[in-house]
C-alpha cells in the first residue's frame, strides 16, 4: 500500500515544510500590522491607509495564551474519526506579531499538560483523510 498524498486542508494558509512549517500571513507594508488569515485589501489599523501587503511566514514558536479541549464531536465541516477522539486546543501568543493564533494540539498532549505561558511550536498533522489524500493542518506542540 502506497502512502496517500498529503495536501493542505486550507490552501495557502501554511507552508508544507514537514520539519519547520510556518503559518502564512500577510504584513502591511506601511504600518507592519500582521494578519492571519491573510489580509490583502485594506489595513484594519484605523490609523493606516495602506492597501499594500506582503505575504509573510509567521513565527513558528509562541506561548500558550490559553487552552481547552473538545470532549464532544464538533459539527460539520469538522470531519471526525469514528469513534470520536477528544482533542486538545491551544491559543498561542506570537511575540513578534503580537497576536494570538488558535489551533489543535498534537495527539497525546492533554489540556492538563499545558500551562498559560508555556512555549509551543508549530507542526503539521493530519486533520482528516479521505480516499484520495490526507488533509494537513497546523497544530501546536509543546516546544522540545
Amino acid at each position: 500500500m502506497t502512502a496517500k498524498p498529503r495536501v493542505a486542508a486550507l490552501e495557502g494558509w501554511f507552508t508544507l515544510d514537514e520539519h519547520e512549517p510556518r503559518l502564512l500571513g500577510s504584513r502591511c507594508r506601511q504600518c507592519g500590522t500582521c494578519y492571519f488569515p491573510k489580509q490583502t485589501t485594506y489595513c484594519r489599523n484605523p490609523a493606516c491607509d495602506s492597501t499594500e501587503f506582503d505575504e509573510v511566514p509567521l513565527s513558528r514558536r509562541g506561548r500558550v495564551w490559553s487552552c481547552t479541549n473538545a470532549e464532544y464531536k464538533p459539527p460539520e465541516p469538522y470531519v471526525a474519526a469514528e469513534p470520536f477522539e477528544p482533542f486538545t486546543i491551544a491559543a498561542v501568543e506570537l511575540e513578534a506579531e503580537r497576536m494570538v493564533v488558535l489551533g489543535q494540539v498534537v495527539t497525546g498532549v492533554s489540556v492538563t499538560d499545558l500551562r498559560v505561558g508555556q512555549e509551543m511550536e508549530l507542526v503539521l498533522d493530519t486533520l482528516y483523510g479521505d480516499a484520495e489524500s490526507d488533509k494537513l493542518i497546523w497544530k501546536w506542540k509543546p516546544a522540545g
Binding site: C31, T68, Y78, E97, V101, R115
Partner: protein, 395 residues
C-alpha cells in the same frame, strides 16, 4: 442628566422551549409592558424592534411585525440587529428618537424562537468565512468560553469549583423567578456530575438557547411627569461602542486576534470598554452600582464581566463569589434574575430582559429575589462581530 428617559412599563414572556411563533412572545411581552406603563397603544409613536435572524422575513423587520401584530396605528418603526446587543440597540434608537424630541413614547420589543436542531453551516469549501474555518478545525462556541475560563485559572488561581459556585448562586437566584426557564437549585454535586464539554467547563455551566420575549415602554421625562410617573425608573446610559484596534482577546468566530505589531498600537479589551462609555454618560462610578445583570454565556464569563464592569479589580471576582458577595444580600449582587444560567439565551430579547429585571429591582418589585434598596443597576452583554452593550438604569 439631559440624556435620561423614563421606563414607564416592562413586560416579558416566560423563557422556555415553547416552539411557537416568535411574534406571539413579542406580542405578549409588549402588551404586558403597555399595560404596566398605563398608556394606550395608540399613544406610542415609535416601535423599535430587535431583529431575529432565524424566523424568516418577519424577523428581519421585527419592528413592523410587532406593530402590525398590535394593530397598525401609524407609528414609525425601526428594526435593529446587533447579535446579543440587538435589544440594546433597539432601545438606543428609541432613546435617540425621544431625546431628539421626535416622539414622546416608544415601545421596544425583542423576541425569539430557537431553531429545531443545529443550524448547519452552508456546505462546500469556504475558507473566506472564519466561521467555516473554525468549525473545520473543530473550534465550537464553548471552546472560546473555555479558553477564557482556563486563562483565569492559570492567571488568577480560579478553580473549577469557583465556576460551580457561580452556577449554584444563579440557580438559587432564579429559583423563584416566574420568567426563568430553569428553576432548579443545583448543588456542587450536580455540577461535578455534569459532563465536561470543554475543559474546564461542564454542560451545566454553558448556557442553552431559549424562546422568549421582552419589551419596554419608554418616554421622555416630561411625558412621564405629565402622566404622574415622574418617579419612574430611568435609563441613564446606553453604550453600544464597537471594539478598538487591536483587540487583544480572541473572539468568536475568529482563529486569530488582531496583531498589535504596528507602532503606537496598544491592545484593548472589548468587554471592558463597553461600560466605560456607560459610566461616563450616566455620570456615575462603578462604586455606585447596587446590582448587575451580566451575560453569563458560561459561569466563568460572569467573573470576567464583574471585572470588566470594574465591580472589583482584575483577578478578584472569584474571591467575591467565594465570600458570597455576589449573592442577593451580598455587597454587589450579580444576576439576581438567575442570569442566562436560568434563562438560556433568546438573542434579541436578552438585553431587554436584563433591563426588565433591573427595572423591577429598582421598583422593589422582586419579592424573594429583591436586592434591598437598589437604586443603580448596570447590564452588560457581548455578541458576535463587534457587538455588545451596557445599559445603566437608575431611580
Amino acid at each position: 442628566m439631559g440624556k435620561e428617559i423614563a421606563i414607564l412599563g416592562v413586560g416579558m414572556h416566560p423563557w422556555g422551549k415553547w416552539g411557537r411563533n416568535f411574534v406571539e412572545y413579542g406580542l405578549h411581552a409588549a402588551r404586558a409592558a403597555i399595560a404596566d406603563a398605563g398608556v394606550r397603544w395608540q399613544d406610542i409613536r415609535f416601535v423599535s424592534g430587535a431583529a431575529t435572524m432565524r424566523c424568516g422575513y418577519p424577523g428581519y423587520v421585527a419592528g413592523a411585525t410587532f406593530a402590525q401584530a398590535l394593530g397598525w396605528q401609524g407609528a414609525e418603526v425601526n428594526t435593529s440587529y446587533a447579535a446579543c446587543a440587538s435589544g440594546s440597540q433597539a432601545l438606543a434608537a428609541a432613546r435617540a428618537k425621544i431625546l431628539a424630541g421626535e416622539c414622546e413614547v416608544a415601545l421596544v420589543v425583542g423576541a425569539d424562537t430557537t431553531p429545531k436542531g443545529f443550524l448547519a453551516p452552508a456546505k462546500g469549501y469556504r475558507p473566506d468565512d472564519p466561521d467555516w474555518v473554525r468549525f473545520l478545525i473543530g473550534i465550537t462556541n464553548p471552546s472560546y468560553f473555555a479558553l477564557y475560563a482556563r486563562r483565569r485559572m492559570d492567571l488568577y488561581g480560579d478553580t473549577e469549583d469557583d465556576f460551580g459556585l457561580v452556577k449554584i448562586k444563579n440557580s438559587e437566584h432564579g429559583f423563584t423567578n416566574p420568567n426563568a426557564r430553569y428553576r432548579k437549585k443545583f448543588t456542587m454535586d450536580d455540577v461535578h456530575a455534569s459532563p465536561m464539554v470543554a475543559h474546564p467547563l461542564r454542560l451545566l455551566q454553558i448556557c442553552a438557547t431559549s424562546d422568549g420575549g421582552a419589551a419596554l415602554v419608554v418616554s421622555s421625562l416630561d411625558y412621564a411627569r405629565r402622566i404622574g410617573r415622574g418617579d419612574a425608573v430611568r435609563v441613564a446610559a446606553v453604550s453600544t461602542v464597537t471594539p478598538t484596534f487591536a483587540n487583544e482577546v480572541l473572539e468568536m468566530p475568529d482563529i486569530a486576534t488582531d496583531s498589535a505589531a504596528a507602532a503606537a498600537i496598544e491592545t484593548h479589551r472589548f468587554r471592558a470598554s463597553l461600560p466605560v462609555k456607560a459610566y461616563e454618560e450616566a455620570g456615575i462610578s462603578p462604586r455606585d452600582v447596587d446590582v448587575a445583570e451580566v451575560y453569563d454565556l458560561s459561569s466563568a464569563l460572569e467573573l470576567d464581566w464583574m471585572e470588566d464592569l470594574q465591580l472589583c479589580g482584575r483577578g478578584e471576582a472569584a474571591s467575591l463569589v467565594r465570600a458570597g458577595e455576589t449573592r442577593i444580600g451580598g455587597r454587589i449582587p450579580v444576576n439576581p434574575s438567575g442570569g442566562l444560567a436560568c434563562f438560556g439565551e433568546a438573542v434579541p430579547a436578552q438585553a431587554l430582559a436584563q433591563v426588565c429585571e433591573l427595572t423591577w429591582q429598582l421598583r422593589g418589585a422582586c419579592a424573594e429575589r429583591q436586592v434591598e434598596g437598589a437604586r443603580v443597576g448596570v447590564t452588560a452583554n457581548q455578541g458576535l462581530f463587534g457587538h455588545g452593550s451596557s445599559v445603566i438604569v437608575t431611580r
